[in-house]
């Protein structure tokens, strides 16, 4: 009895420092944000009486559009990151062991320079006088030419993923800087290593002789890659998606520096409301919306993972049962 009391005391003592810190500076602030959303704002930048006016203001057609745009851009960034990091993870995992650590280190190395400095370097690169502008103009010409014969649904798809604009653009007036494309490009650049790393960790544990077996059985390279390698590193892909999607939803520095007025996301709106207009209830409400748009996909991912695990276990049980009965006979 006394030892269990002692153990309880020891547990509390070791838990308390971090628990109190996080309660005080993480949980309580979150509750304050939630509480502020049910207040009206006062003209001098304070928080007024309890009311629902903030939530009513959010119906303003501006906000749903911004939320949707943020989510769409996050999906696009995630898509490109995953698409690029799949072959990368595969290639690194197939390297000889000594090279693997080196290449993985080389992928993380850009992160030892300040994030702001890197984004600013991109900004100078994308500047109208920069050489990327020239590439962009060529791309515009190519896309214009392609659009002349592309079937209309493909064109709609291109417009949807943001690779082409609805209207023909005047090449002389448009720049890469201050556009959605710039934000997506630099976001992909920023989050790509975070996608490669978990996938590479998963791919390293992957048994590559499975791929050879598939090939021996007649599978084409790409088919084997798609049907065996990708499911094999599923866990890595899920964490990569989360590692990219969540920070993109919350990103605000990149759209602020590169998006101009073309690409205002929830993050920017929160910053404007909190720091510039001093409308604290509005900022809180937007923050709550952002938290929801992070937690929803996360909840889905968790649910899916759990279901998958359950299924795997069930399959295993059935298998064991079969084996057992087979053994009994």
């Amino acid at each position: 009895m006394s030892s269990s009391v002692k153990s309880k005391k020891a547990e509390w003592l070791t838990t308390l420092p971090s628990l109190v810190w996080l309660l005080l500076f993480f949980a309580v602030p979150a509750l304050i944000v939630l509480a502020f959303t049910f207040h009206a704002h006062t003209p001098n930048g304070g928080v007024g009486e309890w009311s629902l006016s903030t939530w009513r203001d959010l119906v303003d057609p501006d906000y749903p559009a911004i939320v949707w745009k943020t989510i769409r851009i996050s999906f696009e960034v995630t898509f490109w990151c995953i698409l690029l990091s799949l072959p990368c993870a595969y290639a690194i995992a197939r390297l000889p062991k000594r090279w693997r650590a080196l290449v993985a280190g080389a992928i993380m190395m850009p992160f030892w320079t300040s994030f702001v400095v890197r984004v600013f370097a991109w900004k100078t690169l994308l500047h109208p006088d920069g050489w990327l502008q020239a590439c962009y103009l060529t791309w515009l010409r190519v896309s214009e030419w392609v659009f002349d014969w592309l079937p209309s649904f493909l064109q709609k798809f291109f417009v949807f993923i943001g690779f082409a604009s609805q209207d023909r653009v005047d090449p002389m007036l448009s720049t890469v800087l201050d556009s959605e494309a710039a934000v997506i490009l630099v976001s992909v650049y920023t989050f790509l290593p975070f996608a490669i790393m978990p996938m590479y960790t998963a791919a390293e544990k992957f048994d590559f002789s499975l791929l050879e077996a598939a090939r021996d059985l007649g599978a084409k390279n790409f088919y084997a890659f798609r049907k065996i390698f990708i499911p094999g590193i599923r866990q890595g892909i899920i964490s990569a998606v989360l590692m990219v999607f969540i920070p993109t939803i919350g990103s605000y520095v990149i759209p602020q520096m590169l998006g101009g007025t073309e690409c205002i996301l929830i993050g920017n709106k929160i910053f404007m409301r909190a720091m510039q207009n001093r409308n604290i209830p509005h900022a809180s409400a937007l923050a709550t919306l952002m938290a929801i748009s992070v937690l929803l996909p996360l909840g889905c991912a968790m649910w899916w993972k759990k279901r998958q695990e359950l299924r795997d276990r069930k399959r295993l049980d059935v298998r064991t049962a079969q084996l057992m009965t087979g053994g009994a006979e």
């Binding site: 030892w112 300040s114 370097a121 900004k123």
Partner: protein, 275 residues
Amino acid sequence: MKRSYFSAVILALVLAFLYVPIILVVVYGFIPNGISMSFFDANGDFIGFTGKWYSMIFAGDRRIEALLESFWLSLTIAGLATVISCVLGTTAALALHKWKGRLQSIHHALVYTPLIMPDILIGISLLMLFVACCVDCGFWTILIAHVTFCVSYVVMTILARLQDFDDRIIEASYDLGAGVWYTFFHVQLPILMPGIIAGGLLAFTLSIDDVVITTFVNGAGTNTFPTYVSSMTKHSRNLPAVFALSTLMLLFTCVLMGLSKLISRGGHTKIKGNK
């Protein structure tokens, strides 16, 4: 065979893509004209490289005084945040590893959630806390914010380390007559040290690089290196100094990482030896 060739090409392209801005950063540190940010004068003639930004940094020139000051502030905050979050992170990881009750599941949720929240939400919620408590933002609020988002990363790093930890070592220590504190400081802590160092390095890099959370809680006049740089990008004639300083930081971290690799390798063999 064809497949791996294709993926290797993609890997090479991705690596090139990742290094484009880094090369720019290094090159921009030698730009002679800080106003137009170019190597060419008004006539389009090449005016050459300069090392003057480096000498300005080493001489502590008056024109970039504020930049250097913000840099030292960043280092101070990152250092303090690392120490505090390492202490909090170690106790938290030990508690999470040792006990598995209801208290720990709440604790785990509290440690884990900051990891999945975008930075901006942590920033804004801390701002709201400081607004609600009428605290003036400054050095201490930045430090609190940095510790808050670093702790979780430190805990996760140490927990990963604890998974390979053989708990029988602790029992052996008790059996040999050592007390709780003696065991902690002479057995558990030395074994955990590589994990704590790795977590600390992570905390330091996160803290020194953070711009989003800091912009919310820094108040007027207190600027860390990243926030100062982002205000400088709008109007400044000393921008190449930023790039020169970044290049120096990059060199410094390269050396540091090399050293830490050596240390962690040493720690690893030591543990294997102990087993």
